[in-house]
Amino acid sequence: MSELIEKLEFFLADRGIYMLTLILFAVAVYGMIACGNYMKKLMCMNMMQVSIIFFFLTFGQKNGGTLPVAIDEVLSAEAYINPLPHALMLTAIVVSLGTTGVGLALLMRIKDIYGTIEEDRITGDGGKKQ
């Protein structure tokens, strides 16, 4: 039984986490295509960006590594996890914040012009413009 749990743990750490990230990515892209509400689309876009961030953080991880902060007793690079993906993802988080901000500002403009943020009412007959 304990062997099985060990195998399961190994599988989850080795492959499972990537599969979960992939599922998150796929769900988010599906949501961006399928949702009719622009706000929901924007939220799905955020989910997609988060899934990419998870992906980077996951492959930066390794077994038995500690935080990449220099400790006096530990000198070898083997003992630390790779800090570069974390640094890259800090930048990516800032970028995604900027994108979300622009998206929200655009939604306000759309709401002002059309009076709604439902896609079918803007493109269909319900919108003010048509």
Binding site: M45, Q49, F55, V95, G98, T99, V102, L106
Partner: protein, 501 residues
Amino acid sequence: MNQIADHLPVLVILLPLCGTLLCPIISHFNINAGKRTVITALFLSIVCAVLQLIQVITTGEAIHYWLGGWAPPIGIEFVIDGLNGVVILLVAIISFTTALYSSPFEKLERIDRIHSAGYYSMLAFLSVGLLGLSSTGDAFNLYVFMEITAISGYGLIAVGEDKGPIASFRYLMTGTIGACMYLLGIGFLYAATGTLNMADLADRLTGLMDSPLIVMSAACLIVGFGIKMALFPLHGWQPAAHSYAHPAADPMIAGIMIKIPAYAMLRFFFCIFDEQSHVMQLFFNAIGVMAVIGILFGSLKALRYDTYNKILAYSSIGQVGYIAMGFAIGNFYGIIGAILHIVSHAFMKAGLFYTSGALKYKYGIHDINELGQVYRKMPVTSLTMVICALSMIGLPPFAGFFSKWYLALGAIEKGNYFYVAVLILSSLLGAIYFFRIMEKLFMGEKTAREKELPEKSRFELPWQMLLPLLTVVAAVILLGLFNAYIVNGVLKTTIWEVVLT
């Protein structure tokens, strides 16, 4: 002076960035001073771009600029060689002329200082993104510049006409998927090699080209760049975004915002990946199929519309197909054709959108049916339109002819006559939709127009708008006439040394 010369690659980008940041502050005190700051910064950026291109040509070596003095595999570097020196100069020229071109629109719309400051900041920021995209030598840095370009582009599309915000929001959705796919591709590359520097990546990838990580990475990069450059099945955002963007910023958005990702794609697929490997040959075939369908689709769709901007936007889908076709051909002539098409199409499409903006400015014309007899009132605009259109069709001696000529030479050398047939067919389709516009312009009946500006100035348009038009005409003719000098003097050695190794 010597010290400044050492820092040219970063000054090209830093000057517009200073313009972006200073413009809102200065505009708070004086609206014209803020605008002039941006225009001056963009002009100085052209000067730096010219100086660094001269330096590259005279020394014959690429400039490697280490940001902050950190050595490349760890630090970020800018690499300027003959190839991207030309692209940077192109971006700088079109950014400057577009900033100049925008100022009369401001008086027309009577906008307040917050909007004016925001508009010029975004324009300079777009230029920062595009210049950075073409000069960086680091894969993640390229992502950051790509997002800078995209975010300022969203803003400039949204301040346009009524449908602008919707077009911009759709572009935001699609563009973010593109950026995420690019980031995913970079993630795979980093996981396989442990580096992000482009030269270092190329070294470490030599034996790895068959690994599934690299195959996935190349696939993700095709989708990422394909969305940004509006390659055929991924072009959904492009027609609306290019049609409804702010008329003054449109030349820059339509002219260069879809070309620079194409240049970045060239960097990745020829400089980093090994283009001779079996895997890449398969990917190039896929790109070729997308390009061919895109060329025919864009040209046929352009026939359907009467709105001037829509015709130009769909024609861009076809023209981006030519660039991708150059990658798919993949030999010396194909690459030359693709690069020349990046440069010449940027000028031609920017020129056509300058005329579109001028027509909107003076008469409020959107539809080509209202163009009748406009040439009597606006001779320079009509001349620009005719020259750019002839160049788009591919008549010698204009720039557009030579890029198509090199593409055809490359396709013949590779023995792929199908591409040649597509080139000829799409040129004929291009002739049909551009002659339709010219027929309306010269032979159409004069129709009632929405508005007409009173004749105040001596010329047909303010000089700030005439100068960009004339620059584009000169560029299209000179790029055509001095084509051999550009290919032999600047591009040839770089392509043999950097791209096809």
